[in-house]
């Protein structure tokens, strides 16, 4: 199995799972979905510098083969931002749950939740 197929299908599966989870009604699956989407994006960004195996990420005149270092820098930035954002959403979701008593995204409790004390 080629590396390209493996990476491409990973991105595809992660994105599909992410979109499905993002469309759920409760905040917890949505947060997981956002995390999946950001993983998919990170892997995708990596592959944008073309897939190269076992080469250094530096450019030098003496070097004939190297891997593109820029996507790696981009992915690092994207990971940091996605990480911070996930933390923010979790805190926000918790706070909303405590204030409204439901973790539905639209804030309207489902019938079974309403019965709970």
């Amino acid at each position: 199995m080629s590396l390209e197929l493996l990476v491409a299908s990973t991105v595809g599966v992660l994105t599909a799972a992410g979109i499905y989870l993002c469309l759920r009604g409760r905040t917890f699956p949505v947060v997981l979905g956002l995390a999946m989407l950001s993983y998919a994006t990170n892997v995708f960004l990596f592959s944008m510098g073309r897939l190269v195996v076992n080469q250094p990420p530096i450019f030098d005149k003496a070097m004939s083969d190297y891997t593109d270092p820029l996507p790696q820098a981009l992915v690092l930035t994207a990971i940091v931002i996605a990480f911070g954002m996930t933390a923010l959403v979790v805190v926000l979701a918790l706070r909303t749950y405590l204030e409204t008593g439901t973790d539905q995204v639209d804030g309207i409790p489902t019938p079974d939740e309403r019965d709970e004390p």
């Binding site: 905040t27 960004l45 510098g49 996507p71 930035t77 959403v89 926000l92 409204t100």
Partner: protein, 505 residues
């Protein structure tokens, strides 16, 4: 000296935002002074940059002296300078309103968040690099989450969760779009990309267009273009109105990004990829205008009313932008400051009305309230400005847009949409005005003066914004010639590319 000044609109808010964290509760007075002083300094810096840009030079600044296309580049041309000035003036007045109404006492770190927001906005208007555009978008979004939730409350939190989630999905799409464009062109610098796009082999065209459309859809999300506008009314109607007034500039960040990326990278020189997103954008802009102004009639709350007014007027702006023509762009660039200021005025007036009425935000007939006379005057002037009736500048702006749309095949659609939505807007705002100010007279009873009635300073900010609109009307000559020059500069990106790749300042 002037070359280094370009970095100031990014650096100053960053430093001040961190500094202001020191001043809380007891020393809030010092924090406020620092905050206001920094906003004033930003106005001065923006005015200096605008004077520099107004003679047509494009000045670029390589941060850390790492030159393009490898380093991070800040670029000032006429459009950027105009956006900087608009942002700084609007933020100064909104901040004055926040201080006058004590909004910053209702939560923590308001001034820090406010300055981080300015950092993101100014950065987005200055950067010449698409990945940095993403980073500045994130900065302004993170700050906007904090500002939107300022003051808290269950409704605000519920709307906040949705706002954060939809923008996170938007950021993901932004990254994928950037990834595709980088994979195809091998660069992130916008000017460099503008050179490489025409040279691409035909086999890459599909990917290039997919990347372009992904990026544009993210910008459209920020600009609240039709199918992607649903987040805006709920978010802005639940944020504090003064914060929503600042957010009026956020939709313009989306509009600015559309203008910048399409004219620079996918402009006339782009070969077979030229104007790739344009056919999709014009119908969406027309429908956005219709939905926005129809929302004025349908809205049940005052803040919702102002939010729909913002969508409608941004839609009108986007109609002119998405014709992608020099004259139409000039009209759009004249209309842009007008619509931002008019929408902000409406939010600030809404804020003052809600604070005084017993009915609060809901559009129902309530008792008469103290201060309704000056407020009704401010409301009608704001409404006149927003829908674009004479004598204020919206009328000139809409007239210019209609005139510029004449030679196009889509002219009947543009004319019909703008004229009919203007009428719908008048009806919607007149309904709101009579509910607020006239019908309470029939209810009778003494006006109930709340404790905060005697605070004339609160009226200063909306009055100042209206004065700005009057100035924009009186100075329509110089303003339109600046807008025309900016549009010509946008449609001839050679100077921009030269300035960035030729080493710059």
């Amino acid at each position: 000296m002037i070359a280094h000044l370009i970095a100031a609109p990014v650096l100053l808010p960053a430093v001040v935002a961190a500094l202001i964290m020191l001043f809380r509760r007891r020393t809030l007075r010092i924090g406020r002074s620092v905050s206001l002083a920094s906003c004033l300094a930003l106005v001065v810096i923006a005015a200096l940059l605008m004077r520099e840009a107004s003679n047509g030079t494009v000045v670029s600044y390589a941060l850390g002296d790492w030159h393009a296309p490898f380093g991070i580049i800040l670029v000032v041309d006429r459009l950027s300078a105009m956006m900087l000035l608009l942002t700084s003036v609007l933020s100064l007045i909104v901040l004055g309103h926040v201080v006058a109404t004590d909004l910053d006492r209702r939560g923590w770190h308001f001034h820090s968040l406010f300055h981080f927001q300015l950092l993101g906005l100014n950065g987005a208007f200055l950067t010449g690099d698409i990945f940095n555009l993403f980073v500045f978008f994130e900065v302004l979004l993170i700050a906007s989450y904090g500002l939107m939730l300022h003051g808290q409350g269950a409704d605000r939190l519920k709307a906040g969760v949705q706002y954060v989630i939809i923008n996170l999905v938007g950021s993901t799409l932004f990254l994928i779009g950037i990834g595709i464009l980088y994979g195809v062109t091998g660069t992130l610098n916008l000017a460099d990309m503008a050179i490489r796009v025409p040279e691409l082999p035909a086999s890459d065209l599909g990917l290039l267009q997919a990347g372009a459309l992904l990026l544009i859809s993210v910008f459209a999300l920020k600009a609240a273009l039709l199918p992607l506008h649903l987040w805006l009314p709920r978010t802005y109607a639940n944020a504090a109105p003064a914060v929503a007034a600042l957010f009026a500039i956020m939709t313009k960040v989306g509009v600015y990004s559309i203008i910048r990326v399409v004219t620079l990278v996918f402009g006339a020189a782009a070969g077979s990829a030229a104007w790739a997103p344009a056919p999709w954008l014009l119908p969406a802009a027309l429908l956005t205008t219709v939905i926005g102004f129809l929302g004025l009639i349908a809205s049940r709350g005052l803040r919702e009313l102002a939010a729909f007014a913002l969508i409608g007027s941004t839609g009108t702006l986007l109609i002119a932008v998405t014709l992608f023509d020099t004259n139409a762009m000039a009209a759009a660039l004249y209309y842009l400051p007008h619509t931002t200021i008019a929408a902000a005025t409406l939010f600030l007036v809404t804020d003052l009305i809600i604070k005084r009425r017993d009915g609060g935000d809901r559009l129902i007939v309530g008792q008469r309230f103290a201060g309704s006379e000056p407020l009704s005057l401010l409301f009608i002037l704001g409404a006149v400005a927003l829908v674009g009736l004479p004598p204020l500048s919206g009328f000139i702006g809409k007239l210019l847009i209609l005139e510029a749309a004449m030679p196009f095949a889509s002219a009947p659609w543009v004319w019909a949409t703008i004229l009919i939505t203007t009428f719908i807007g008048i009806v919607g705002l007149a309904r709101a005005g009579s509910t607020l100010f006239w019908k309470p007279a029939a209810v009778g009873g003494e006006p109930n003066p709340p404790a905060r009635a005697k605070r004339p300073a609160e009226f200063a900010a909306p009055a100042l914004l209206l004065a700005l609109l009057a100035a924009l009307t009186l100075l329509a000559g110089p303003a339109t010639s600046y807008a025309e020059a900016a549009a010509v500069q946008l449609f001839d990106p050679a100077a921009y590319v030269d300035s960035v790749l030729g080493g710059g300042g």
